[in-house]
Symmetry: none
Subunit: 309 residues, 5 copies
């Protein structure tokens, strides 16, 4: 499709970036039903690695088949599919050109005793599979966080030289962070900011709670005069932390929940100026028709076509 004003505006924020990276950002921003609106709805399927196949796919066994998740992304008109190497490789040929791909290039599992990730994909893999971007998880706060930052930086430099966009999943955890701290407003905003400083083009965070984790940050938040009990205000704060909105920030839906709760979150993301959603378990764990109906509503909410009641 033609470059829209929304997309032109977003791309202009990345001035100085390699043209190939911008072209791949444009591919993501122009594809699917939200194409041209400046919003992204992405399907991530890395939960099999992260939580195991039974917890991920038993609720809707069709999801065991990699082709199913490609079909879901294509049929729903999503912006992109993000997954680890083996899953993408199982469908990249048959679905070549049908939906932009993001190679999730590091992975962890729930058998591990510490917060870290293994490098499970490379820039070469991403190019060979025709991906538009390569994605990495970082765990701000974890004992291994600096090694993770360094791995991401190195791979991101290689990716940019090849024109690939870089997506960073910024998931605070480990170290001295409390469980509540993992989604605390200050910590999520901090993590988004560090992802931007590490060179991420697209930043993926969880929706933040109103909790402030760091004692030394409390007065700063208290002095802002913003009502952070309102989710859209928290979204707006995280977006502001990502270079005043110059970087694309998408929010994850988290564990499966009922549709109305999900729609409320989408409304808040849109109201707060977030760039979209990354919806995994809430989509592929539902029966196909339910998932398509839910994603249709999410997309229409982003396009302002429905109240999603």
């Amino acid at each position: 499709m033609q470059i829209s004003d929304h997309v032109r505006h977003i791309l202009a924020q990345y001035d100085g970036e390699r043209p190939g990276v911008k072209a791949n950002l444009a591919r993501l921003l122009l594809h699917g039903r939200t194409g041209g609106s400046g919003k992204l709805v992405i399907l991530p399927v890395d939960q099999g690695f992260e939580h195991g196949p039974a917890r991920s796919f038993a609720p809707n066994p069709a999801g065991y088949d990699p082709h199913y998740v490609f079909e879901l992304a294509v049929e729903a008109g999503l912006s992109a599919l993000a997954a680890p190497l083996g899953l993408l490789a199982a469908g990249a040929d048959r679905f070549a050109g049908a939906v932009p791909l993001i190679l999730k290039a590091n992975s962890a599992n729930s058998l591990a005793g510490h917060a870290d990730q293994a490098i499970t994909g490379t820039v070469g893999d991403a190019l060979e599979l025709g991906c538009s971007a390569i994605g990495f998880t970082i765990y701000p706060g974890a004992d291994s966080q600096y090694e993770m930052f360094e791995e991401v930086r190195e791979a991101a430099a290689e990716a940019r030289a090849c024109g690939l966009a870089v997506v960073v999943w910024a998931y605070p955890r480990g170290g001295k962070l409390s469980k509540d701290g993992e989604t605390a407003l200050d910590v999520v905003a901090y993590s988004a900011h560090m992802a931007a400083l590490l060179g991420a083009h697209i930043i993926k965070v969880k929706l933040p709670s109103a909790h402030i984790e760091q004692p030394e940050a409390k007065s700063a938040y208290a002095g802002m005069g913003i009502d952070f009990s309102v989710l859209s205000n928290r979204v707006a704060h995280v977006v502001k932390a990502a270079f005043d909105g110059r970087r694309i920030v998408v929010f994850s839906g988290g564990p499966a929940k009922d549709s109305q709760a999900l729609y409320d979150e989408v409304r808040a993301i849109r109201a707060g100026g977030g760039h979209g959603s990354i919806v995994g378990r809430n989509s592929f764990q539902r029966p196909r028709e339910d998932a398509l109906a839910m994603l249709d509503t999410v997309i229409r909410l982003y396009l302002g076509e429905t109240a999603g009641a």
Copy 2:
């Protein structure tokens, strides 16, 4: 846009190719106004290098500006823009995502005394600029032909590993070929076949004449029982030489000519099963409005929407 049946059929001919290459072929086949039809209309602007700027751009001085040719490709809804490094680099940032790009990676000039080309771009350049393909000229018959084949083979292997499609401009010349032999039916078909054997995904040739250059080929042609005085039959023969139509073959318009002659050629390409046109001087040497009107007719001819009278 969605993958159409036409595009699915073409991609299926490239079985065994890397998914990334297929994804980039899909990008070319899905973009622009012919997107989804299985036809390509490509704007090449390498004549500045090949013939010099005055001969190329003086007829329509707007063409001196690289941005003009990007705009022309975008506005006309073409499938791709093909050009040498410097020209693509001058617009790839501003027009990121607006039109698929093909880096013409070797170049010759009219000051040279022999038929050869210099390598003027690399796979790395193509990736950095966000190109979907990389293109090379070969001169079958020239004294330097085998060195050119080897250069193309080496760069093509690197391109495929990075998911880029490979376009070969097969232009017979030099050696023992007569001037008429450069567009002879047997020689053009032979050149298209060699390009396919060298691994080209898209083959670009000139429209062949009915002349048969090689004495030892005359009986083979005489025995086919095909009326080669008809241009569409010649087109069909060249397409057959490209692995029985398994490779995309596009035809060049050659020197600027009047519109009716060009439309007749397009009709013959379409009737003969050719995959499209690469229209350079006939488009950028005309005033913008004339060029857009002509390209509109060419596109509609390929889509079967007009008789182009």
Copy 3:
């Protein structure tokens, strides 16, 4: 032999993979007495490295001689022989072309204090020895698991580029896993799934018990409505976790046992849709004639030619 429908169906699951990898998978699937049936019976002889020669070969001292195990694999009509570098190198010349080889490229020993493996073979070794595949062990759950994943990923990428198939021995152990957890259904299925995501073409796991190790997975299993006290249902679940059966999964026999127990396992593997067995100690620790008789029964069970009573 000719490609059978069973083999064609299996190869089609690997769409997008390099033709050379498919050709090597075809070699494994077409060789030996199960050739063409879609089933594999593989002889692994890495126990000398893993447990020491006396524990491995004293029960049948013929096994100390590498040539013996080649002869056993050839005479029994097995699909392949898998072993570390030195053992394969000791017979690959004399038995060239007689049986497909899998280079087991990392190895551990029982003298070690922690769960890890050394890289003891390379892709270059595998090519020089004429292997069809290269194999790696991973220990999901171990403290070193992520480093192992990264080693496997790097070598697997190199192997695929050279047309070699990649076999992953997925053996959960270490970290916070209990001893029962190493063969727990959830953990084995999880490990098979991760092997597929890491790009394995063939996955080797132990037959799972009905134990569920991870507390957070229990509800998922409880909700499936499947009787996991039945071994074939557990096999089917593991196969499903390997991309819904798109990846070849073979099961190990584990410690030596009586023949009937082994046959029961084979029946369950076949009933559950598993792709075959990897039978080490149960074959090479028996006297030659016993081993051949047992393997004959195993093969006939897979071919549906006997009840193996």
Copy 4:
């Protein structure tokens, strides 16, 4: 299939060669209907590059499609298919494992003014496509012969390190050779010997005439006391020149001819101890049924099953 005595005997001639090379020679010698007999019948399809598509495929237009020649090789039960990169790549995926492949890695065309070849494939290509061997043409006697020897030697060393067999097409031509000299007995035997000295595992030559080209060789031939007017004696002489029969030598059928003439040649090759035939134009230029019937007779002649009357 099992290694036969014939095959074991041939492999034993290559003592000291890498096991992987022997395994690939075994693949060729065990495949197809001549499998195990020590004879090879190979389909080469490089004439499109060498002579152009019309001269090659117009007599039987089905041959324009690469899939047709794969099907022909599979259906006829041939030992291998040999072709340049693009043709193999067009079918290697769909026909993975169905027939051993030989990558013809250098190529010439009839537009050239001098006797040389371009490198058009690499060891990496051969591995990726799952080939068993890589083949090169040399032109003993040509001005470029030493460069060609060096190119072959370098690629052959790389191929052997990767376990690939090396096939050399030894075609004397150019320099001071007369036209008759290109198939002269002394020159063909000389060429086969040099191919063996360059490290070829399989040597492909044209059937020699009784002409002796080199004046200084005449007395040697006169003194042998062998009746070289008998074709089988000439075959035996060439085989002797290839390390006393320690290297596989196959003979080409040359231009299309009638079946009886071809069968007579096969009888002579067999009687002279040649290892088989490489039959290109005589097979793919006939209608499919004719070609299959002819190849069936050729195979039965090699197997001693028919008199081929």
Copy 5:
């Protein structure tokens, strides 16, 4: 100094270029007395290599000392000093930061029998010496032109990756060009265009004559309706050939001449939209005070501060 509108406008033409390259272009454009005006006056001292020291420095023996030319460039307030490795290395320490440096990275001498250049400097040298740019000569039309293009392309890619600007001296000569053709308008414009296509950021050409060298270009020039007997029109044409003025084009003064002739050339360059002068022999071959006075006038002419009478 602050970025001026002139400089901002010029930098904007290089959209998509690496920020480091732009920063170095800005250094050149902001330094010296023309800083901020969008004009460059550069001192090149490569004549010692090209013509020998006596012909270069005997007229003003102070020039034998590299420090003298650094002092001249600094004292005259020039934009940059361009010279081969040894000369720059002899002053880069003492004059560090005093004037931007351009490493002339290939060099020829008048002892040579053919038109070519040796690589005499590298990107690493340029970085180590603190240069802002690296320069290369190409000889369009020479037998070696394509090899030179390839050398420049390779070094330019490395330079850009390190943030260095690339200057190309485009000097047509050799091959079928006549002596008059070396400065012919069509050939100079063609050469400037090719330099831009090769990725040059700054293009240096000789002032063109009104001669048209290429017969096939004559009609294009005749049809432009421009009076090319006027030097400023010829300058404007060359600038247009450099991507419609998107690339910086500077003109050389050529052999030493009287000041008025030089001032007339500067007036024409300025009137035609050229970006400045590169003044070698006319400056360093004069006594210091004369040179400084002449350069003062040149600078004031570019700044519009004098009529230079």
